[in-house]
Symmetry: C2
Subunit: 463 residues, 2 copies
């Protein structure tokens, strides 16, 4: 039991190898015994590793050897893709059993991924009431509050006493997603208050729910975006958040464990876009087919390449001048690269600040003023290093050095000031600011850098 | 009460402006009444906005007008920097009152930021027992499990009945960070089991804690890194995680609300490093002094600039050839830029996969093989577009077109295969893989791209 995080990882990997070799010998029941040493989350991961690296069929056979009470706990911990693979292979009674035992929100996630005819077949066997509810949930938009919530919450009346409320929770608590927050509803299913299990447990027996409940409720609407919802969790440290429909009736709750995934998902999307990977699937890197990679990367790459047609055009117009001072070409990559790098640093910070909500549209002037000052300091330092280098190492003369260094200073200033405003401008016209970072910034800066460089060359070297 | 997320934002901003204009007229008590319409989290944000944009002194005056029960709830919701500012201005009895009411982990966060003499002065007035505990907590490393935990948890004995356990929770629950998970300890303060309030509430009154508790416990050690801790929360969906010392004794617990911040902090660090911003402070963008920006950006920028000395050297060696076919210069930025962009796409995905734990060191070959296939498809598409462009638009002849397109294909292949392995190699030698993305990748690829281009030019054009 005295297992550090590292020890756990080692035990896990040791057992996984053992399972692989036992599977090789088709010793399924020994495999099962090895699996049962672990908890549901670990078993799910091991089965998924078997699926990915070994054999889907064998993984399913192994899954079916698990005791029923274990398999229903393992199933929700797998990726939806893998759940669908399992559903496609196992028998109808097994499907029904697993779906019955799943939390409502996990069940919806699986149903969303199944082919329509299979969903219909499954729904035929569910009671009418539940079927209607499932259909409503299946209609909520992806990434909306509605798609994250579960209808399994605890409902109280405001005239209950603490004792009655606790007795009610004891009775129905088994089936609800969380019992740590309970919801007080009026006649019309409107949410009028929230009460935590903590306050119920701590309060005297005879106290009324209406005295314990909070009435200034923070809630989400079914159509709110999951990013806004996760911001509320981060801001207020909730364990659960109520969700209402357009008529203000409580339709479900979202729990914090689902929000951890949302935070990671949203930040991953940000990171990928900042790195020029657009709309990659939810699949993990190793599971993604080659053509999905191409689809996520190629269009953006081609679009950015077009910006280089302009950059190339600039050079073509300047060709004669360049052929007379070929030494100028030597510094082109450095100017473009350093411009791009310093601009990327700025967009990274600004995009991050915008997505945490710290930087708002009204802050444009502040951002500009800050980047202006930062870029002057950085630009002077970078130019000074280059001046020394060009004079002392390259022996290229003061005029070339001046051309390069003044260009460098201007490029850094333009790249950083522009880099600060670009993501804000993008947001203004409805484009995700994250797209303006990394590759986009690098490509745009290349164009600006060369333009600046050529104008300076014209001025200092009379080309 | 039927307030959507957007309405809330608007109300907030409207009131904030009102407060600013009331402050202008020094109507502090009207300000206070306006503030009191909001919850503690919102009040904290408003006060912080006053601090940042208006006047620290006035913000503190306003803070002191708040009723005591409100101010102790507002205080922990502020940034630690602002908390320290307040502590520096208010009186000793006020400090003592606020610190007494803070959760233990929040208090430690404040004390860590205060100057040593002030901490000593505060500790003089705390009881000896608590002082010893505070000192122990102050010694835990930043970003370790120890620095995140609180000692305020609920402790049960295994021979208690459910009823006794609930009565105990009712008694001590007020002072503990969470009552939703309780910890069963043996004589030597060793953790022998965990029991959720859920199972206690649902179980019959006479059931023993020992029958309800889970014995296969997942826990962290005080020295574990916060990133590993947050991985455990994401993996298992915990509300709280126990933390033990080197002797295996329970010393504290970490709750999920503190983990939301850790996840965001760790991902922000990743994003910033991927964008070439190294070790920026924890301060928000707008609060960061200009010189802190320079410190976070300049060294990395200079280091990367050095790589361009080599790139420049390559060009210098190739100067004569370039002056005979100046047309080649036209395609240099595009080759470098597209190489960098396609490499950045790959590093972004691989760094992300590594930090979620999906890609492990043993997967290097898989990553290489995947990137190899992806890069061939992408390289061919990109080259084909260029071939058409060079022949039909630029009229630069087949040989130049071949030089550019074969270079392009090779550059994309090298950039992506190399981009897949670079972060893994970095990790192997103990460098953060995130540093290998973005600017680093762009700069390295520029060098490789030009080298490849020149070799191809030599081959196709006999230069």
């Amino acid at each position: 039991m005295d297992n550090s995080i590292q020890d756990m990882d080692e035990t896990f990997e040791y057992s996984e190898e053992k399972i692989f070799s036992l599977l090789e010998e088709k010793k399924y029941f020994q495999c099962r015994d090895e699996l049962l040493k672990f908890n549901a989350v670990d078993i799910a991961e091991m089965l998924e590793d078997v699926m990915r690296e070994y054999d889907m069929q064998k993984a399913v056979v192994l899954f079916r050897t698990l005791p029923k009470d274990v398999s229903v706990e393992v199933f929700p911990n797998m990726d939806v893709d893998n759940q669908v693979e399992i559903i496609n292979i196992i028998t109808d009674p097994e499907i029904q059993y697993i779906l019955d035992e799943l939390d409502f929100d996990d069940m919806i996630d699986v149903l969303e991924e199944l082919p329509a005819n299979l969903v219909d077949k499954i729904l035929e066997k569910t009671p009418k009431n539940e079927r209607r509810q499932i259909n409503t949930f299946l209609r909520y938009k992806e990434n909306s509050a509605g798609s994250l919530m579960t209808p399994d919450y605890i409902e109280l009346r405001k005239d209950m006493t603490t004792k009655e409320a606790l007795a009610h929770i004891k009775e129905v608590g088994m089936d609800s997603e969380t019992i740590y927050t309970a919801y007080v509803l009026s006649g019309g299913r409107k949410l009028i208050g929230i009460v935590s299990l903590r306050s119920l447990v701590i309060a005297p027996d005879h106290e009324k729910v209406s005295e314990l409940m909070h009435e200034d409720i923070i809630l989400a609407h079914v159509d709110d975006d999951q990013e806004e919802v996760s911001d509320l969790f981060k801001r207020y440290g909730f364990l659960a958040l109520p969700v209402v429909d357009n008529e203000g009736r409580l339709v479900g709750i979202i729990t914090v464990d689902d929000i951890l995934d949302v935070i990671e998902e949203e930040m991953t999307e940000d990171i990928e876009r900042m790195g020029g990977v657009i709309d990659s699937t939810d699949k993990e890197y190793l599971d993604m087919p080659v053509m999905d990679h191409v689809k996520a990367e190629l269009p953006w790459l081609l679009l950015l390449m077009c910006s280089y047609f302009i950059t190339g055009g600039l050079i073509a117009r300047f060709e004669d001048a360049l052929s007379s001072v070929v030494a100028l070409v030597v510094y082109m990559p450095m100017l473009m690269g350093t411009g791009g790098n310093s601009g990327t640093q700025t967009t990274t910070l600004v995009v991050r600040g915008m997505s945490t909500g710290e930087i708002e549209m009204g802050d444009a002037l502040k951002v500009f003023w800050k980047e202006f000052r930062v870029s002057i300091v950085i630009g002077i330092c970078v130019s000074a290093v280059n001046f020394v280098r060009i004079i002392l190492l390259d022996h290229n003369g003061t005029l070339v050095a001046l051309t390069v260094c003044v260009s460098m200073l201007l490029i850094v200033i333009i790249a950083k000031c522009f880099g600060g405003l670009l993501p804000m401008g993008a947001k203004k016209i409805g484009i995700d600011p994250a797209l303006m970072s990394g590759p986009m910034m690098a490509s745009l800066t290349d164009m600006v850098s060369l333009g600046t460089y050529f104008i300076m060359a014209k001025y200092f070297l009379n080309l």
